[in-house]
């Protein structure tokens, strides 16, 4: 039997890691909820964002927590442009085409990163990288505590945006009834692009929160995107609150099953949950019933 402080450390670590997973899943669930497609380029975009954080630190000496502001704006703009001028026109509005286009984009982005940055694993060393917050016998990594808090702030802001702004209302209208929204004067293509931009902006924030403790190589996004898919399904596809709760649950499950059944089997816990949700509650925790 493991001591209680080890259990609590694993629990806290799972929550903190899960919060970042949630942030990665937020963008995915948003795009799914509005455009009704799975964005296969999500992982590659995360990788690109992580490289952007690395470049900001390595070349311009910017701390990730400072770089997060310009990068969020930059990635919003990139996401917007990508949907508006590449994915939208290339897919001709057909869902299956969008899937293929995003898949193609992910391959393109990954290989462009490979060509530009080579295959080396890169990380950044920030002065607080090894700082810990001591709570009793628990040593919580400071960057992870920050990531945990920031994920809640971002999810809250996103919820506010969706609930109380014109663009939020437009996004919700388009996600419910595209044609009706278009008839009432909402520019659907613009709303699609804004949604995609928000998804990419979430990834920029996730990247900035990850980099002080993690590393980047041209394929690193893939390690997160499968988990993000699971969270999206668990939370209820398209639900912001669901993504946050789903992320935390998956983080804890992964951490505790890793602790008790071994790291290699820890991943199984995630997929067991995935299958269970599909069997018991296919619409997810916060999903509308079909």
């Amino acid at each position: 039997m493991l001591p209680i402080d080890i259990f609590l450390s694993a629990l806290a670590n799972g929550l903190m890691t899960g919060a970042v997973y949630a942030l990665v899943a937020l963008g995915l669930t948003l795009v799914y909820g509005v455009l009704h497609i799975i964005n296969f380029a999500h992982g590659a975009t995360l990788t690109a964002a992580m490289y952007a954080v690395w470049v900001a630190h390595d070349r311009f000496g910017l701390d990730p927590y400072v770089a997060v502001f310009p990068l969020t704006v930059l990635f919003f703009a990139l996401g917007y442009a990508l949907q508006r001028y590449v994915i939208g026109p290339a897919s001709h509005g057909s869902d299956s085409n969008i899937l293929l286009v995003t898949l193609g984009l992910s391959i393109l982005i990954e290989n462009a990163l490979l060509a530009g940055f080579r295959s080396d694993t890169r990380s950044i060393d920030v002065p607080y990288g090894f700082s810990v917050v001591e709570i009793g016998a628990l040593f919580l990594s400071l960057p992870k505590v920050i990531a945990f808090a920031a994920s809640f702030v971002v999810a809250g802001l996103l919820w506010l945006l969706m609930a109380h702004t014109d663009i939020g209302k437009a996004i919700r209208a388009v996600s419910r009834e595209k044609t009706g929204a278009a008839l009432s004067g909402i520019h659907v293509e613009h709303v699609y692009a804004v949604t995609f931009g928000l998804g990419a902006a979430c990834l920029a924030i996730a990247a900035a929160l990850l980099m002080p403790t993690f590393l980047v190589n041209p394929r690193v996004g893939n390690a997160f995107v499968l988990v993000a898919f699971t969270i999206v399904v668990l939370g209820g596809m398209g639900s912001v609150a669901g993504a946050l709760l789903g992320g935390l649950i998956i983080g804890v499950v992964e951490s505790l099953s890793g602790l008790y059944f071994g790291e290699s089997l820890g991943q199984i816990g995630i997929f067991l949950i995935f299958i269970l949700v599909l069997l018991v509650r296919p619409s997810g925790l916060f999903g509308a019933r079909a």
Partner: protein, 401 residues
């Protein structure tokens, strides 16, 4: 009308003759010898593959600049590069392509599963295959006559590592008694863990637990937490680069300070990138691994070339450089690119012009008998050799706490 004299006819004739002879002169330049270089340069192991390719390229450039293969009339070496994409299937597909491109031999593979699959595929066409880094023992115990390994297998590495560990521990008054083994759950890490489990108890160490982890891993916190709970004297990790870096950083963060981190064939502990980027996490980590021989002048030369492109100095580069040189020597002695002759020449090779700390090669069932690992320790931002004594440039610092 101009009169055609005998003289002008002769002149014209000899000029025509000279023109006709031109292609013959061109033909005299021997066809390049195509060598397959197989490395994973995309996927999880891409970083290692890149450093392997770099070593092969340095050897190609050196041989070609020195006039190519003398026995083949100065034929140049031409690299047919294959990206194994970090998977055995990727490696096998590239071997098929290399066969279509008529390579004389193949060098590389890096990871054991890739080498196992690729050398098996190469054996169907009797292509001589030289494994660069892969350490799984069955690479050379399957009875494939085309497969050779220049470096040590993990049987040799583990027993050397354990011999040195015992020496280290005894010299310090036996402070270490308990061990936690951490390993990646692939062929390399699992095989290594099995060997350690079999051999450590006999050498006076108690194994508290063996922890496996997948590659890639997003987080090594759980592994670190288990280590903290078990509080071992020694941690023995065998992982690829990214996972060990995460583990070492997390251990530092969780203030886990065992008496020693004694890595075996670790992807990061003998990597200058890790040492430069995380000097505190890397300090005093020991590793038993492939390492170029610092006494040989050629080592410094190759290292300089490798580092010229902003790269770090890794054993992959040294091993691939040496393997290509070994192959080129075999082709020289075979005097031909005939695969059977090249295979025979490698099997009988006594090649010594390499940069590893081995003597002349001597292959028994494809395994180079003189191949041996060395022990290194990160000391004050540098990687020092602590064993074997013959060329150690530092005394081990143990226990670390």
């Amino acid at each position: 009308m101009t009169e055609v004299t005998r003289r002008t006819l002769l002149k014209a004739g000899s000029a025509t003759g000279a023109v006709l002879a031109m292609p013959a002169v061109l033909r005299a330049q021997p066809a390049p010898v195509r060598i397959g270089i197989l490395q994973p340069v995309t996927g999880a192991l891409a970083q290692d593959g890149e450093y392997g390719r770099l070593g092969a390229q340095i050897a190609f450039d050196e041989i070609n600049a020195a006039g190519g293969l003398k026995a083949l009339g100065g034929a140049k070496l031409e690299m047919v590069f294959g990206d194994a994409r970090s998977t055995p299937e990727g490696g096998t597909q590239e071997v098929e392509r290399m066969e279509a491109e008529k390579v004389a031999a193949i060098v590389g593979g890096f990871a054991s599963p890739i080498v196992l699959a690729a050398s098996q595929a190469a054996s169907r066409y009797a292509i001589p295959y030289i494994c660069d880094v892969g350490v799984a023992d069955n690479i050379v115990t399957r009875g494939l006559t085309n497969t050779f390994r220049f470096g040590p297998g993990f049987g040799i590495v583990t027993s050397t590592a354990l011999d040195n560990l015992v020496k280290l521990n005894e010299a310090a008054g036996k402070p270490a008694k308990t061990v936690v083994i951490v390993h990646e759950d692939g062929l390399f890490g699992s095989g290594m863990a099995k060997l350690l489990q079999a051999q450590l108890p006999g050498r006076g160490f108690e194994i508290l637990e063996t922890i496996a982890h997948p590659t890639p891993s997003r987080d090594m916190s759980n592994v670190a937490l288990r280590i903290r709970a078990l509080n071992p004297d020694l941690v023995i990790p065998s992982s690829y680069y990214a996972e060990f870096v995460l583990l070492a950083r997390t251990m530092q963060q969780q203030r886990i300070r065992p008496k020693g981190i004694y890595a075996i064939l670790n992807g990061a502990a003998s990597n200058f990138r890790f040492v430069k980027e995380f000097p505190d996490a890397a300090n005093l980590v020991m590793d038993c691994n492939h390492w170029a021989d610092p006494r040989k002048p050629k080592t410094a030369e190759v290292r300089k070339l490798a580092e010229a492109g902003g790269r770090f100095w890794l054993y992959n580069t040294a091993l691939n450089y040496s393997c290509v040189k070994l192959l080129a020597d075999a082709i020289e002695r075979a005097g031909s690119t005939d695969r059977a002759k090249v295979t025979e020449a490698i099997a009988n090779s006594t090649f010594a012009d390499h940069i590893m700390p081995y003597g002349p090669t001597k292959f028994v069932n494809g395994q180079n008998q003189g191949a041996a690992p060395v022990n290194t320790q990160v000391q004050n931002g540098d990687i020092k050799v602590i064993f074997p004594d013959a060329f150690a440039d530092a005394k081990p610092i143990f226990p670390a706490t």
